[in-house]
């Protein structure tokens, strides 16, 4: 944890603000293996029907599965639907 993150975690503990807001982390909600809702991401790196790679502040997040569809993509939210088999968190830089 670098110096900035350390202060952010202290602020989070004192103020009780959500961690993802204070520390600018992606917020991932998984509904069974059918849907993934990812908030606070940077860019879409790759999209095929078997794989979705998304760039976030903590690195690359990859979902694999079959019949993957991007249900919705907006400035800070992406919803992926289909049969999700795995989630891989490439924690580069953190």
């Amino acid at each position: 944890m670098d110096k900035g993150d350390f202060f952010k975690s202290i602020i989070e503990e004192i103020t009780d603000f959500p961690k993802d807001v204070v520390m600018n982390l992606p917020h991932i909600v998984l509904i069974g293996n059918l849907e993934i809702d990812l908030e606070n991401f940077n860019s879409l790196l790759e999209y095929t029907s078997e794989k979705v790679r998304v760039g976030t502040s903590m690195g690359i997040v990859m979902f694999t599965g079959s019949n993957l569809e991007i249900k919705m993509i907006s400035q800070n939210e992406i919803v992926v639907m289909g049969r999700i088999d795995s989630i891989e968190l490439g924690l580069s830089g953190r």
Binding site: S43, L44, L45, E46, Y47, T48, S49, E69, I70, K71, M72, I73, S74, Q75
Partner: protein, 394 residues
């Protein structure tokens, strides 16, 4: 408002993008605040997606910058439909005129339905209602409900209640007729108690006045039963308001005929139906061949079904011809059935004139076959009732 409805109103389009830099396009769109929906990768170089109508222009520009080919697959939503509609101006005008016509025509009364009148003739009532402004062609908004009801009740004293309901283009008027209250003679007015009808006096209760007849006598209509003129040696002649009850046996008759021929055949339960189209009074059969019926004995009945509603007369009608199979039965059984039928009708006819407060004591029926082949029945009902009526002394 739910998001789906808003999206439908605003409109959205299905697009097919073909090219190499699809992810780049999606990222650019995302950073440009364009919401992309239902993105589906079909091939490596091809993707289908949905975009809101307001973002279509931006998407087109962006795809051009990225070197992607854009094909619009489908356009959905209210605004798209309106846009399409505006291209066909004559059609849109037609629809508008049609809507206006429907609105205009539905603001008039087209039919008037009157129910509930028993003694007041329908024609007279219809004329009265027309005078009050409820008639075919009248503007619905011009009819004042409360005023109409009040005026109708004040015009026709026989009505105790009236209601006007305008449903669509139909004005429904319901009325209820009241029974006339009996004439009440003031207690201060001297009167006699007379027989209201012929009868055999069984019991006479005198509450006030002088008894003029004895129980067990036959009395005639109008005969004084209790006199209001009381004479005594002490006070001389006084006129009082005579009161009393005269319980008598009265007789009511009813007669009815039944045609024996109607009972010579009995329905077997089998029937056949055929349809005809009646155009301007000419029947066109809607069946092949002559339409022969296999029944030996049968009865034919016809029923016209008009497609016109609310009393509209159309020149086209559908006619249902119904053939009911009949079985011949023996004459004696037919005679018994005709007698039963005529007795039933005669009792019903006599029962109609019996007052509600009367108690039927005895029923007698006499049936005979007339020369024209009909069964004639006469029934006599013996009723116990109070026949006392007050009549003022002039």
């Amino acid at each position: 408002m739910p998001q789906g409805i808003l999206r439908y109103i605003a409109g959205h389009a299905s697009l097919k993008l073909t090219g190499l830099s699809i992810e780049k396009f999606i990222n650019k769109a995302q950073s440009g605040d364009i919401i992309l929906l239902n993105i589906k990768r079909n091939k490596y170089r091809e993707v289908t997606l949905e975009v809101n109508r307001c973002d279509m222009e931006k998407v087109g520009e962006l795809a051009g910058q990225m070197g992607l080919e854009v094909e619009v697959l489908k356009e959905n939503g209210l605004l798209y439909y309106l846009q399409r509609l505006l291209k066909h101006r004559a059609f849109a005008m037609g629809m508008l005129i049609c809507a206006l016509l429907i609105y205009l025509l539905s603001s008039f009364i087209w039919t008037v339905e009157i129910t509930g009148n028993e003694t007041v003739p329908s024609k007279k009532l219809a004329e009265m209602i027309e005078e009050l402004g409820v008639k075919p062609g009248a503007l619905k908004s011009s009819v004042d409900h409360d005023k109409f009801v009040l005026e109708l009740l004040s015009k026709e004293k026989n009505f105790t209640w009236a209601e006007l309901e305008i449903k669509g283009v139909k004005a429904k008027i319901r009325v209820v007729e009241g029974k006339k209250s009996p004439k009440v003679i003031d207690y201060s007015t001297p009167c006699n108690v007379v027989a209201g009808k012929d009868g055999f006096l069984v019991k006479l209760f005198v509450l006030n006045g002088d008894k003029k007849t004895e129980e067990g006598n036959a009395v005639k209509k109008g005969q004084i039963l209790v006199s209001g003129m009381v004479s005594s040696d002490v006070s001389g002649t006084r006129y009082v308001h005579a009161q009393g009850q005269a319980w008598s046996h009265t007789y009511y008759t009813g007669e009815a005929d039944a045609d024996i021929n109607d009972f010579l055949y009995r329905e077997t339960g089998n029937h056949a139906e055929k349809y005809q189209l009646v155009v301007n009074g000419k029947a066109i059969p809607l069946y092949r061949g002559e339409g022969g019926i296999l029944f030996k004995n049968y009865r034919v009945s016809m029923e016209d079904m008009s497609p016109g509603r609310y009393g509209m007369k159309l020149p086209i009608k559908l006619r249902r011809v119904r053939y009911v199979e009949l079985n011949e039965i023996d004459f004696d059984s037919a005679l018994i059935m005709a007698r039963q039928k005529s007795e039933e009708s005669a009792y019903a006819a006599a029962g109609k004139i019996v007052p509600a407060a009367g108690k039927i004591l005895q029923k007698t029926a006499d049936s005979k076959v007339t020369s024209d082949g009909k069964m004639h029945t006469k029934v006599v009902l013996e009723v116990l009732e109070d026949i006392a009526e007050e009549k003022a002394i002039k």
